[in-house]
Every structure is written in C-alpha cells, then in structure tokens.
C-alpha cells in the first residue's frame, strides 16, 4: 500500500463512491459516507471567501483502480483571539477510514489526522460524540486538549418529553416512572416548577425580535463591539455570516432561521435558531436549537429569551443549546434552561491551545457553539 493523501478532485469521485459503498455495506452506521462531489456543496472555496471547506482523499497507489482508503475535510476559517488579532485555523471534520471496516487498513485513520495537522497546525475538531470516541482519543493522543462544551435544555411540553425522551427511558423502571409522571400530571408540574425556579432573566424589556433574510452592516457593528468580551471566537462579521447562512440555502433535513434582536430600534444581537433533524434519542419530539448567537454579555438574557420564544412559537417540544462562553450559559439558565450531560467536545491542537493560553483561565471565555466545527445545518 502506498497511500498518498491529496486534495479531492473530480477524477477521484468514482473511487470515493466505491469507498462509500464499501463502508456502507460493511457497517450499519448511515453517517459513514463522504461527499460524492469533489466540490463542497456548502462553503465551497473561491471568490475570496473568508471561510471554506477543503476535501482530501487518501489514494492507495498499490491498488489497480487507485482505491480511496480514507477521506477528511478541513473547514478553513479565521479565529479572533483577544489581544492577538486574527489567526487562520481549520476544523478537522468528517474523517473516514477504511480501517473502520477492514483492519488491514488500521493505519489510515492516524495518517489522515497527522496529514491534517501538517497542513494546518492550528487545528480543532468539535462534537465527536464525546471524549471517549475513537476520533477524540486519537486527537488526544496527538496532543490535543479536550474541552467539553456545556449543554443546556428547556422542556416546552413536559408530557411529551417524559413519554418520548428515549435517552432517559432506556431502563424499563425509569420508563415506567416517566409514564406515571406523565399520566398523573406530576411530571408536568415538577418540570415546569423547576424551570420556573431557575428563571430570573432581566434586560428583556423593550426588545423586539424579527426574522431577517441576510446579515448586513449592523452585524459588523455587533461583531466589533462584542468581540473584546470573549477570549476567542471564530470571526462572525457580516461577510462571514452571509457565507455561513446564505439566504437561499436549504436542507431537506433541518432548517435554520436568522433572528435580529433590537432594543428601542437598535440591534443588540442576533441568533440562529432551527429545528433539529430527527434523532432517535428524542423519539417523536420536535427539537429546537439555539445554534449560534452574538451580543454583548449584558444583552445575552434578552437574546436567549427572544430565541426561546421564537422556537416555542414554532411548536417545538424541547429546546437545546451548546454554548461554551459562561455569559451564554448563564443566560440560558436565567431563561429556565437546565444543564445536562454533554457529549459535545472541543479538541484544540497543541499550537492552537498555546495560542489560547492561559487555557484553563480562558476556557469559559471561548465562544464556541454548534455553528462552529462542521457547522452544517444538518448536523446541529
């Protein structure tokens, strides 16, 4: 085997299709599939884009058909670091190795990761399903620092939550208790009371929320005003936001909306909200998500409040959010969100972690959300 890891070009498309077929036929995991097109559908490179995706393939020169044995993607973007300016970084995402289904290719996974790191030493990965998954363990072995991103949730319809939250109903006795709580009304009372007890949001007076088609200059003003309140955040100026949330982008699986929140006519922040794709752990519940947000810290309460009301109007049963910055975590809690266990993890390479030093002190001032990472609307 003589693997050459190189940019994914149109001449590799047939081999990638075959790679996908081999992975799919040997595994029951529907996520083991890479882009059939060598050109990213979302965030393609070019046209002076500030953020774009690049695809890479590991081609096996020893196979007669130049088989592809591994793939990965890099989302190239800019990171603002307080006191240090803007640094180009990349997110390592969607790595897939034939080693997942054929152990004779066990070395491919680490070769992909090392290749990505060589191309961009300021590298991160996000999500990964938790710190104990193979990808997270591999990155940790490569010297990455793993940081869990807090998860918060707010139950809108308690009875449905009790009956449908499959992640909590795995044990029979627990499922029975939840059914009893749902049928008797005690569950409804307990959840509503708990969320009400936690609510203490202020600063929401005189605010208005509107759905907008696209971001413009007002978003630049907000970016510039609030960026000094974080230790680091991927750039969220108007130009980048237009790329991340293009007006006509649609997905058959999930939806996103842009909210602009104003006070006395002036924009104080924005939020990206949406309804998540169907997920077995949530049963038949419609799950809304506060995907991303931006505002000065003392406007976070108002922003979360507005986003929550918009999602409740959409008729969702549950609202979730992953936010790393303590101001947003606090705002979620003040709006009655409860903290839950998280499997959403940030992994930062050695060089990137050094850039963010002192890391332990700065951890709660990093602004990473579900919009970071592969950030695909389908994946939040």
């Amino acid at each position: 085997m003589a693997l050459v890891i190189q940019p994914y070009r149109v001449e590799h498309e047939a081999a990638v299709a075959e790679f996908n077929r081999r992975l799919q036929s040997a595994s029951s995991d529907p996520s083991f599939v890479f882009s059939q097109s060598s050109v990213p559908r979302w965030l393609p490179p070019g046209n002076d884009n500030t953020v774009w995706n690049e695809f890479y393939v590991a081609v096996d020169g020893s196979s007669p058909e130049s088989a592809v044995r591994g793939v990965y993607a890099l989302k190239q973007e800019a990171l603002f670091v307080r006191g240090k300016g803007v640094q180009r970084i990349a997110c390592y995402h969607h790595p897939l190795s034939e080693g997942i289904v054929d152990r004779s290719f066990t070395s491919v996974g680490m070769l992909l990761a090392r290749d990505a790191l060589a191309r961009q030493p300021f590298l991160y990965a996000l999500g990964m399903g938790g710190a104990e998954t193979p990808i997270a363990k591999m990155l940790k072995a490569l010297g990455f620092t793993l940081t869990p991103i807090p998860f918060h949730f707010r139950v809108v319809h308690p009875v449905k939550f009790l009956r449908e939250m499959q992640a909590l109903r795995e044990k029979r006795w627990r499922a029975l208790l939840m059914d009893i709580a749902a049928a008797s009304g005690t569950g409804w009372l307990a959840i509503k009371a708990l969320q009400a007890m936690k609510s203490s949001a202020t600063g929401i007076a005189n605010t208005a929320s509107e759905e907008i088609g696209e971001f413009s200059a007002w978003a630049d003003e907000l970016w510039n005003a609030a960026k000094e309140t974080v230790n680091a955040a991927t750039v969220r100026d108007a130009r980048t936001l237009k790329l991340l949330y293009p007006e006509n982008y649609s997905s058959p699986i999930a939806s996103t909306r842009r909210l602009r929140i104003s006070r006395n006519g002036s924009a104080i922040g924005w939020a990206i909200i949406g309804v998540r794709r169907k997920d077995a752990k949530f049963g038949t519940m419609r799950v809304g998500s506060i995907v991303d947000c931006w505002a000065m810290p003392n406007d976070a309460n108002a922003l979360i409040g507005a986003a929550t009301r918009a999602l409740e109007k959409d008729g969702v049963d549950l609202i979730v959010s992953n936010q790393s910055h303590h101001s947003w975590c606090s705002a979620l809690e003040k709006n009655g969100f409860l903290k839950g266990p998280t499997n959403f993890v940030l992994a930062t390479s050695k060089k990137l972690t050094e850039l963010l030093q002192p890391f332990e002190e700065n951890r709660a001032l990093l602004h990473f959300t579900r919009a970071d990472g592969d950030g695909l609307p389908v994946n939040f």
Partner: protein, 71 residues
Amino acid sequence: MASDIFGVPAAKLTGESSPETVESWDSVQHLNLVLAIEEKFGLQLDPEEIEQMKTLGATATLIDSKLQPSS
C-alpha cells in the same frame, strides 16, 4: 511496548501479531504504538513507514532499519 499498549500479555504476541489478530489493536492504539516508538527510539516515522507496520515483526524490522547507521 506492544504488550503495554494493547493490554495483551507479551507471551501472547508474536511477530505475526497484527490488527487483524489483536482485537485491541485499533486505529487509536496504532497511533499510540507509533508515538511510543518515535519517543523511545528518537525516530520520526513518515506515512510510508507507518503503513509498513502491518505486523509486530514488520514493525521491529522497520525500527532496526531506521536505527542502523547509514553506510
């Protein structure tokens, strides 16, 4: 080294041991093996050399060849 990394008694490992015969030899442990070799022997393994590490025997041969002084 392999015994520690894979959690398998050394007596059960041979030159023919590979990811196909050692259940715990997955991609993460393969990386750990590479990193351990690089650290212990002061080597830097390139992708082609890492691909050659298909068995413990092949890995030992690789290490030997890298440690031989070049003529």
